[in-house]
Symmetry: C2
Subunit: 322 residues, 2 copies
C-alpha cells in the first residue's frame, strides 16, 4: 500500500491510470485553494462526475475501510480535500454539510490569514481564532481531518492542542532540514506527534532540500531525519505533486482573488514560475521507488510500510466516520 | 397517521409540540422560495440545529421508513422541501448533493418562470424547459420528489409525463372546484393520477372554496369531489399552513428579489394581505378533525387513512431512497 497525503492539479482518466499503475492506494486531492461554498460544491460535483466516469480505476473514499476496499479492488481511493477553510463561508453549519458530501480533509488556512487563523506567509500569526476553534471541534465531530500545512506556526500549535483528534500536516517538510516558511519547526513536529498526528513529507522542489530532489536515497534520508524528530509513527508522504498545472493555475494558487500584485507562494522573485519535479521523480508514477529507498536508509519493512501507508491509515481510522 | 404535504413559516419548539399533539406523523416544511444554493445550505443548517435541539419531538426524515419510525417513536417526521428549484443555481450536479443533505421535495418553479419551466402566474408557459428535463430525471435518480404546485399547466403536464417516478402537487386544489391560477385542471389531475402521483388538498383560504373554509365537512366534501376527479389513491392533504408568517414574510414570498412593484401571489389587489385561517381550522393542531369529517362525507376507514397518510407514504416509498 502507498498513500499520498496531497496532490493537486488536473485529475483525468490518464492520471488515475498512472496512479493505479504506480501503486497508489490512496491520494488526497485538492478541490480548492480560495473558493467559497458554491465553487466548492461545484468542485465536488466535478469529482462525482469523474468518479462515475472512472469507477474502474478509482473511487471517492469516505472511510478508512473505503481506502482498504479500493486497495483490494485494485483501484485508487481519492480523499476529497480543500487547502482552505473558505469553503465554509464562515458558517459552522457547513462543516457537517461538507462532511456529508464526502469532504475528508480541510486545511485551516491557505497562504493568507482567514477567519480560522494565521498563515505561514503572514508576518504575524495570532493563533487559532474564534472561528478556528469552532471549526476544529466541528471537524473532529464530523469526521474531517484538520490539515495544518500552509498554516502559521502559532495557529498550528494551537490547533494541535485544541483538536480532540489527531491532526495532519499533509504536505510539508521539517524546517530544521530545509528552512522555509512552508516547513515546520521541530517544536511543531514534536507537538504534532505527541497528539498522534502525522506529517506527509513533500517532494515539491520549493520546500525540499536540493539533495533530496537529486536522489531518491537522499529524499528517504530526509524522511529518516524527519523520523528522528517526530518518530516513526508520525511521518508519512504528502508529495504536493501537481498534475498538469499551468502558469495560470499557479497564478490562481498564489494571487487568488486577493491581490493585483505578484505573489510567489513557496517560490520567490528569483524563482517565480513552475519548478522542476525532483530529478528522481519526473513522473508521480515513480514514487514507488521510495519503497526500496526507505529500506536503504535503515528502516525495516514494518517501518517502511508505516511511512508508506500505515500512519495515514491509522489517522484516517481515528478521524473519519466509521 | 396523518401527513401534511406542505407547511411553511417559522418552525419552533412550540410548533413541533403542537404538531405532535395534533397527531401529525409527517410534515413537508418549506426551506426556501427564491433562494440560491448558499442560502439554501444555510436553511438546511438551521434545520439541523432545530433537529438537534428538538430531537424529543421531531426528526428530519430521509426515507419512508424514517417517517414510519417517527410515528412509532411519537415524533413528527419533517421532510425538507423547497418551493423553487433555484437552490440548484442552474447546476445539474447540485440535485444529488442536496439529496445527500436530506432534501426530499423540490418544486420546479415558484411564482415565476425559471430555468426549469413556467409558473402558474406567467401569461405564457412554454412547458418543461431543457434544464427542467434534466433535473426531473436527476431528482428521480437521487430520490427527490418533484413538486408541481405553483407550476404552470403545460410545465406540469410535461413534468408528469417526463418523470419516471410519481410526482406531487403538494398543496393546491382542483380548479374545477375553485377556479384560481394556483389550482389544477381536471386534465392535470387525471394525468397526475395516471402516473401514480398525488395531490395534497389545501386549506389556504386564497385557493380554497369559501364553503370549504367554513366547515370541516365542506372541506372534506371538497376532498371527496377531488377524489371523483383523481381517484382515491391520488388525493391527500397539503394544507399550505404558514406558521407565524408576518406581512414581511408574505412580501418576501411574493416579491422576492425580483420586483420593486406589488405582487399579490395567490391574493389580489382586493385581498393583498394575510388571509384568515379557515373558520374550522384556526390552529393547525386541529387538522385531525378531518379524520371524522372524511368518514362523514362517505369514505370508509381504509380510504380515509389513504387520504390522511397512505397515499403520501406510497409516493415516498416509490420516490425516496430506500
Amino acid at each position: 500500500m502507498m498513500i499520498d497525503g496531497l496532490q493537486c492539479g488536473y485529475f483525468t482518466r490518464d492520471v488515475f491510470a498512472t496512479l493505479k499503475e504506480g501503486g497508489f492506494t490512496c491520494v488526497t486531492s485538492t478541490l480548492g485553494f480560495w473558493e467559497g461554498s458554491q465553487a466548492s460544491l461545484d468542485a465536488i460535483g466535478r469529482w462525482r462526475r469523474l468518479a462515475r466516469a472512472n469507477q474502474d480505476l478509482m473511487l471517492i473514499a469516505r472511510t478508512a475501510n473505503d481506502v482498504m476496499h479500493a486497495g483490494e479492488s485494485g483501484r485508487v481511493a481519492i480523499l476529497l480535500g480543500f487547502q482552505n477553510s473558505t469553503l465554509l463561508d464562515g458558517r459552522i453549519d457547513y462543516v457537517e454539510l461538507f462532511a456529508e458530501l464526502g469532504v475528508r480533509v480541510v486545511q485551516l488556512t491557505y497562504n493568507n490569514q482567514n477567519e480560522a487563523g494565521g498563515s505561514c506567509y503572514e508576518e504575524q500569526d495570532n493563533g487559532l481564532a474564534r472561528f478556528g476553534r469552532e471549526i476544529v471541534r466541528e471537524m473532529n465531530r464530523s469526521g474531517i481531518l484538520v490539515d495544518l500545512s500552509h498554516v502559521g506556526d502559532k495557529t498550528t500549535l494551537d490547533a494541535i492542542e485544541w483538536s480532540q483528534k489527531p491532526v495532519a500536516i499533509s504536505h510539508a517538510n521539517a524546517a530544521s532540514l530545509f528552512p522555509h516558511k512552508r516547513n515546520k519547526s521541530d517544536r511543531v513536529l514534536k507537538a504534532l506527534a505527541e497528539r498522534g498526528g502525522v506529517i506527509g513529507c513533500a517532494t515539491y522542489r520549493n520546500i525540499t532540500p536540493e539533495s533530496a530532489c537529486a536522489s531518491v536515497r537522499d529524499w528517504c534520508e530526509m524522511v529518516a531525519r524527519t523520523v528522528d524528530i517526530a518518530g516513526v509513527d508520525h511521518v508519512a508522504i504528502g508529495t504536493d505533486e501537481g498534475h498538469g498545472n499551468t502558469q495560470a493555475d499557479l497564478d490562481w494558487m498564489r494571487a487568488g482573488h486577493w491581490t493585483r500584485g505578484a505573489d510567489y507562494g513557496a517560490g520567490s522573485a528569483a524563482r517565480p514560475g513552475k519548478v522542476a519535479k525532483p530529478d528522481w521523480l519526473p513522473r508521480t508514477s515513480e514514487l514507488a521507488k521510495v519503497r526500496h529507498g526507505l529500506l536503504e536508509v535503515g528502516f525495516n519493512e514494518a517501518e517502511r510500510d508505516q511511512i508508506l501507508a500505515g500512519n495515514w491509515l491509522r489517522v484516517y481510522r481515528e478521524v473519519f466516520p466509521a
